[in-house]
């Protein structure tokens, strides 16, 4: 107990040294928090952007649809009602924001100026607006409503290739569910710019009923997309859906967007190496500071030995001091790091000074502002890492201090 009091007094006896040591540790924690926050935040942003620009967190569809596609691979009316009812049931327990039925098909789009292959996506307009970004990406005209039978929105690239604009007509032609070639004349209600150039060159968006009518699907749909509040619940929900509907295909976003999942793993790997070296840098800086402060006190330790403190007690004393310093540094570092994180989470780090065009990574539109994001587990991780490291390094320094007690040093400067 007396050692603890002695340690506490020692801290304030040399305020400058305490301040310098805690500053180094606290700033180390701050750097770690900000770097982790921005790294995690950019991933989260990419995933959010991806699930919002089409896939959703969980997809429920007919078996084989992901790999093979095909107009005839649908959910029957009965399956569709069963899935919709099941999703409604799970709404609260999984934090489901919305769910939307969709049809999609590769068809030929033509105007008097030519034809291009397009990707027709037919959606329930009101449900879709809740779960995806399509409604926000309308560049010209307006988004669909469920009364818009026979009207479509087209990607800006499609409009340019076919030389069509608002109010113009185009013809869609493709294989229907019965195997016959079907066609329909539609009118352009708006233009869409998703930010993905390749996607904008093929996208045609129609109301669900229009698509079902065109492709002879009656009440059938190809897939259900589910959007969640917390993406970490995507895999559990997908697992639950697989159990409930073993005859269907259920994908979480990693399975639906394998390229993005790979990209994120690669990026994670890079971040892992980056953080490893950052951590080493912080460790060395803290260690240097601690060593310097112990070295400076050799005379003091010699005095303590003369006063009767044995090596173990001196070791304990330095360790106690280090613990107190680490606690102070932790408090300070958390305050500084978390306020910087809060600022970056709210206002973000603008990186768009150089950007001129729309951005996409691995097929996902990307915002040029990076927002910080830290889970409680990450914060705890950073705290434990810095605290544990400081104590461990202090132990090495303390050992030196304990052995340094040489009475002869009392006379030296």
């Amino acid at each position: 107990m007396i050692l603890l009091r002695l340690a506490w007094r020692n801290l304030w006896r040399n305020r400058r040294r305490t301040l310098l040591t805690t500053t180094t540790m606290a700033l180390g924690l701050t750097v770690l928090l900000v770097t982790l926050g921005l790294g995690d935040g950019s991933h989260l942003q990419m995933i959010n952007s991806a699930v919002r620009s089409g896939s959703g967190h969980v997809l429920i569809q007919a078996r084989g649809y992901q790999e093979l596609g095909g107009v005839e691979r649908t959910l029957s009316g009965q399956q569709r009602r069963a899935v919709a009812g099941w999703v409604l049931e799970k709404e609260h327990s999984f934090g489901i924001i919305g769910t939307a039925p969709r049809i999609s098909a590769s068809v030929l789009g033509s105007s008097s100026d030519g034809s291009v292959g397009v990707q027709l996506i037919a959606v329930q307009a009101e449900a879709e607006a809740r779960i995806s970004r399509f409604a926000e990406t309308v560049a010209e005209g307006e988004f669909l409503t469920s009364k818009d039978s026979g009207k479509v929105l087209v990607g800006v690239g499609v409009a340019r290739k076919l030389k069509i604009g608002l109010g113009d007509k185009m013809v869609l032609m493709g294989q229907g569910a019965q195997g016959e070639i079907e066609s329909i004349v539609v009118r352009i209600k708006g233009l869409i710019r998703t930010g993905l150039v390749e996607f904008d060159q093929v996208l045609v968006l129609a109301d669900l009923a229009t698509g079902q009518d065109f492709l002879q699907l009656d009440q059938r749909v190809h897939q259900f997309a589910v959007l969640l509040d917390d993406m970490n619940l995507a895999s559990p929900l997908a697992a639950a859906a697989t159990r409930a509907f073993p005859e269907l295909e259920v994908l979480d976003w990693q399975q639906a967007l394998p390229q993005l999942a790979d990209f994120i793993r690669i990026d994670d790997g890079g971040a892992y190496v980056f953080h490893f070296f950052l951590f080493m840098l912080i460790a060395f800086m803290v260690f240097n500071t601690l060593l310097m402060s112990v070295l400076e006190r050799r005379r003091e330790f010699a005095l303590l030995e003369a006063l009767g403190l044995v090596a173990g007690q001196r070791f304990l004393l330095v360790l106690l001091e280090a613990t107190l310093i680490a606690v102070l540094a932790l408090l300070w570092g958390m305050a500084l790091g978390l306020s910087l994180h809060a600022y970056l989470a709210m206002y973000g780090l603008p990186l768009d000074i150089i950007s001129t065009s729309e951005l996409s990574v691995a097929g996902v539109a990307f915002e040029p502002i990076m927002y910080s994001s830290l889970s409680p587990a990450r914060i705890l991780q950073a705290m434990i890492v810095v605290f544990g490291m400081s104590l461990m390094l202090a132990m090495v320094a303390a050992r030196r201090a304990a052995l340094a007690g040489d009475i002869r040093l009392l006379g030296s400067h």
Binding site: R13, N14, R15, R16, R17, L20, T21, T23, T24, L27, T30, V31, L38, S42, E67, L68, G69, G70, E198, V202, P258, Q259, D262, F263, R265, I266, D268, G269, G270, Y272, V273, F274, F277, L278, M280, L281, F284, M285, V286, N288, T289, L291, M292, L295, E296, L349, L351, I353, I354, S355, T356, S357, L359, S360, V361, G363, F366, P368, M370, H413
Partner: protein, 422 residues
């Protein structure tokens, strides 16, 4: 001169203290170089993943070909002639170009008899193509020395599934030829491609460019595109400018770098750059502060010593000169040591890189054709700023407190009480 000697001697009087200061600078610099090295490596990896799959670093087209990719906008089409082989040879003879590959594009309906689908035909010279891009490595079925001979076709994986076609099957391609006639031809499926880009796998059909010329009823010099690989991809835009002014290309053609061809990639690379720029700046600041703190401690520790030499008659200026000499020696040794270790460690890291799949797990990496190896690179400009930051921090940490102590009454300093210092 005496004070320079004094400064030098002081350094070795307390070797432990000097060693810690040197270690602080050296380790700070070393880890900054490694962190910068990763960020350069990640950027280069991004760039090479973005350009080496299909695009190439540089492309040459007829100036009207992009963005609509019209069938008639051929390179040299305005004169109705092109010495294709001679042009490729001339370009390959230039030191800045490593490889050149000609390409021809077309749309067609592909049919197996029961199933049919629309496809983008890409006509290539298989021998030249594999030296510029890597998409031919994504072959999941079918193996031969030449990936696609004349009379053969490679299908994108999704397209092949839609057509229910497999290796050895025969498919028919039907298209509108350049002269307005209906061109059609049979090809044998020689392989299935998984490029890793889903939109490509859905539409891509690769044949020999000579076959495509015949199918489209075009002459034997007709190509839409030359894709080039250059030695330093980051200079693509200026290399393209030089090529445009060199007179080597037909007058109606235009060379463009990857940045112009894929502004998104350029922006993303820029984004990664400024993201890491911010992080590194932040971390450099921390490293400089770490050095500052260590050296501040070392200087304040010497309050009594400065009081002593002051009492012996050294002026504050003379004390400052000795401290300056000490600091400069420490800084030079620290930076020298840091650079030396960095060179030794960076050597294998930049040559072989770190294989990220060790941390990221198995992955479908081969299918997506993303290279999981980061090769560390030297970041010249950032590195200079980090060194300057270190030097400034060290000088600041020594000289300012030293000046304050030197100006103190030697008697007070001798007691060693500068603001609660023990």
């Amino acid at each position: 001169m005496l004070f320079v000697l004094l400064g030098w001697r002081n350094l070795w009087r307390k070797p432990g203290r000097s060693a810690i200061s040197i270690a602080a600078i050296a380790s700070g610099l070393f880890f900054l170089i490694l962190l910068l090295g990763i960020s350069v490596g990640l950027k280069e990896q991004m760039l090479s993943n973005g350009t080496s799959l299909l695009q190439g670093h540089l492309q040459v087209h007829h100036r009207d070909y992009l963005p609509d990719r019209g069938l008639y906008d051929l390179i040299g089409g305005d004169q109705d002639a092109l010495e294709l082989e001679a042009l490729i040879e001339t370009l390959e003879a230039q030191p800045q170009f490593e490889a050149v590959a000609p390409r021809l594009y077309g749309f067609s309906l592909i049919s197996t008899g029961e199933q049919s689908a629309g496809a983008q035909l890409l006509g290539i010279d298989p021998r030249l193509e594999s030296r510029v891009t890597s998409f031919l490595e994504g072959m999941v079925a079918g193996k031969s020395l030449t990936p696609v001979a004349q009379g053969q076709v490679l299908l994108g994986a999704t397209l092949a599934k839609e057509l229910r076609a497999s290796t050895g099957d025969e498919i028919a391609a039907v298209t509108q030829a350049a002269d307005g006639s209906l061109g059609n031809e049979l090809y044998q499926v020689a392989g299935i491609l998984k490029t890793g880009l889903s939109h490509l796998d859905r539409v891509l059909a690769v044949i020999h460019y000579r076959d495509l010329q015949q199918l489209l009823v075009l002459r034997s010099w007709a190509v839409h595109e030359l894709a080039l690989r250059i030695e330093r991809p980051e200079l693509a835009d200026s290399v393209a400018d030089e090529l445009n002014q060199s007179g080597l290309l037909p007058v109606d053609s235009l060379a463009q770098g990857w940045g112009e061809l894929a502004p998104q990639l350029r922006d993303y690379v820029g984004l990664i750059d400024s993201f890491y720029g911010f992080l590194i700046g932040f971390i450099s600041f921390f490293a400089a502060l770490g050095v500052l703190n260590t050296m501040l401690m070392a200087v304040f520790e010497r309050t009594q010593e400065f009081g002593m030499v002051g009492a012996l008659g050294m002026t504050p200026l003379q004390i400052l000169v000795t401290v300056l000499v000490e600091t400069l020696v420490l800084v030079s040794l620290g930076i020298g040591l840091g650079l030396l270790i960095s060179f030794l460690v960076m050597q294998p890291l930049s040559a072989h890189g770190i294989d990220l799949s060790r941390w990221t797990g198995g992955l479908t990496m081969l299918n997506t054709r993303i290279d999981p190896v980061i090769r560390f690179g030297w970041a010249g400009k950032h590195l200079v700023w980090s060194v300057i930051g270190m030097v400034a921090a060290a000088l600041l940490a020594s000289l300012i407190p030293a000046r304050r102590i030197a100006r103190m009454d030697p008697v007070v300093a001798l007691r060693g009480v500068v603001e609660g210092s023990g």
